[in-house]
């Protein structure tokens, strides 16, 4: 790509890879969590809701540091993963994906939860009286009605994952080709003389990706409304 230099392109490609993995891996958990928060009635629901939203409010550097403590090679989870599965995430691109997924999780859950709450549980009751098992009710009634909301949540999470900086740089540092995503690259370019042009090109890429994500997720949210209304 002529617009971007090789270093810049490497950062963009890495960001895309990290964001894709982050969204793909967190999607089932996000959907499950959204269902739990929208439909579940159990003690501690509000606490769980608070924990899910925590990464949105905490300073990203704190989230990154907590990840480092937990998933570092000497951390309890990181040590377990390395000794049992041989998986190391600290200072790897997979670690960047983990940080991005955690930071994007609240946005994803929020969009999906709103879609689930707009579905009338009476429709699910009606499906059950027609002989549909719970699984069939979910697959044929709930999921089709909330699908645009699920897609909107995934897109928002993707955009957030593309732009994650604070937790990523704290957890997995800023290693070119491994963990230097677009925001980290912009930061790095701004630290060296003559890097402004590269930084600016990456800024343009970031703005375009973010805008596209917002537009698409807005369109999807409207589609939920239309679907639920039966138009």
């Amino acid at each position: 790509m002529a617009f971007l230099g090789p270093d810049e392109w490497q950062a963009v490609a890495l960001s895309l890879k990290v964001a894709c993995l982050a969204v793909a891996a967190s999607l089932p958990f996000g959907l499950g969590m959204a269902l739990l928060l929208a439909r579940g009635r159990f003690p501690g629901r509000h606490l769980l809701n608070g924990i899910v939203h925590l990464p949105l409010i905490l300073p990203p550097v704190v989230t990154g540091y907590v990840l480092l403590l937990g998933f570092g090679r000497r951390g309890p989870i990181g040590g377990f993963l390395e000794s049992v599965f041989g998986i190391v995430v600290a200072f790897r691109w997979t670690g960047a994906a983990l940080a991005a997924a955690i930071m994007a999780f609240p946005l994803m859950v929020r969009a999906m939860r709103l879609a689930i709450e707009s579905v009338d549980p009476g429709l699910e009751e009606a499906a059950a009286t027609l002989g549909a098992s719970r699984l069939r009710v979910f697959l044929t009634v709930t999921l089709p009605l909330i699908l645009p909301g699920v897609i909107a949540g995934a897109i928002l999470a993707f955009a957030k994952a593309m732009g994650e900086f604070g937790a990523t740089i704290t957890f997995v540092s800023n290693i070119p080709g491994e963990t230097r995503t677009v925001p980290s690259a912009i930061y790095a370019f701004l630290q060296v003389p003559g890097g402004e042009a590269s930084a600016l090109r990456l800024v343009v890429v970031s703005v375009v990706v973010a805008m596209a994500a917002l537009v698409v997720s807005e369109v999807m949210a409207r589609r939920v409304t239309a679907r639920v209304a039966g138009r």
Partner: protein
């Protein structure tokens, strides 16, 4: 007995203790709002689990808290028509109708035909009128091949013209589908038109349960039906349509003349005659504009708290109710066993009060 219910359930501010057996045909759960009708239907469907009790349909036990049996909703095999339709908004009418796995083949065509859904099949629920949506909802429930159809105030959310549009379809459904129906309503007109058996609920208890003709002709139940809505049913046969627009019927106490009944000669129908539309006389009146004069014998008289008296009259082997004032009853010296004449204006009976005869279980 096709349906047997005995359940107890406590809400924060309301206790339900209901037991009844209903034969095949159309059983109407009737009562004011808050009497517990919907709770009973939800319990039968499995959407609500009562504290204690037993429910069986056609001998199959769906709930028995004593032996910890509770068949899940989707295995009960009952159709449910909700007051608010609850069509799946993301599916077309066709998709809604065929949602139940058993909804295929010949049944589909006959249900679409009975409910007049042919030209709606490609539409989405958002593009349907209230009456159309409710017809689709009925068809969808019917196509799940239910052992029993539960209808929870299916007409309550509709305005009068939409109700009038659906009632003939319900008539056909009740007489042609052969599926037993448990129908919830607080509208006496629907009870009179559709019911073969009535369960009268009040404050979470069964006040009376019995054949529709018997309960509707019971003077003691008039206050529960509402004095303006109470009326007995007469079975009659269409004899002829006269050129002046009147239809002649052969009723239990002689001919009846009603404004244009849209049935063929020979058809059997049942006519609801509102108690407040009937005038009583001791002698056969002459020089009267009213065309219908039925001779009968006073069976019972029910005095309420107000100024009215409800008189039950045996006409042939059927019963008629007349609501008159206490003062008239005293002036006429009406008493049980007396012969008297019931006078009814032809135009007092509207098309809404005319229905198929009650299906014989």
């Amino acid at each position: 007995m096709s349906l047997s219910v005995a359940i107890r359930h406590s809400f924060a501010d309301f206790a339900l203790d209901v037991g009844f057996d209903a034969p095949a045909g159309v059983t109407v759960l009737f009562g004011h709002s808050g009497s517990g009708k919907s709770t009973v239907v939800k319990a039968v469907a499995g959407l609500l689990r009562p504290d204690a009790g037993r429910i069986s349909v056609n001998g199959r036990v769906l709930l028995d808290t004593a032996s910890r049996v509770s068949v899940p909703v989707h295995r009960r095999g009952l159709g449910y028509v909700f007051q608010d339709g609850r069509l799946f908004p993301h599916l077309t009418v066709q998709g809604n109708l065929t949602y139940a796995r058993r909804a295929t083949g010949d049944r589909f065509d006959s249900v679409v035909d009975i409910l007049g859904l042919g030209r709606l099949l490609d539409r989405r629920p958002g593009a349907l009128s209230g009456g159309e949506a409710q017809r689709v909802a009925i068809g969808r429930a019917l196509l799940s091949d239910p052992a029993m159809l539960l209808m929870d105030e299916p007409l309550a959310a509709l305005d009068a013209p939409r109700k009038a549009e659906i009632l003939p379809f319900l008539d056909r459904l009740c007489s042609e589908s052969g599926v037993p129906i448990l129908y919830v309503t607080h509208a006496v007109a629907e009870v009179a038109r559709l019911a073969s058996h009535i369960v009268l609920l009040e404050n979470g208890r069964v006040l009376r349960s019995g054949p529709a003709a018997q309960l509707l002709a019971d003077p003691a139940l008039v206050p529960h039906m509402g004095v303006r809505d109470a009326g007995a049913l007469l079975n009659a046969r269409v004899v002829a349509h006269h050129p002046d627009g009147l239809t002649e019927l052969a009723g239990p106490g002689g001919p009846l003349f009603l404004p244009g009944v849209s049935r063929a000669p020979g058809d059997r129908i049942r006519v609801r005659i509102l108690a407040q539309d009937v005038i009583l006389t001791r002698t056969r009146p002459k020089g009267l504009s009213a065309l219908n004069i039925l001779e009968g014998t006073i069976r019972t008289m029910h005095h309420g708290d107000g100024p009215g008296v409800v008189v039950q009259l045996a006409v042939g082997d059927e019963h008629l109710l007349a609501r008159i004032t206490r003062r008239s009853a005293e002036t006429l010296e009406l008493a049980t066993g007396q012969t008297c004449f019931a006078v009814l204006k032809s135009v007092a009976v509207s098309q809404v009060d005319i229905a198929e005869p009650a299906p014989t279980p």
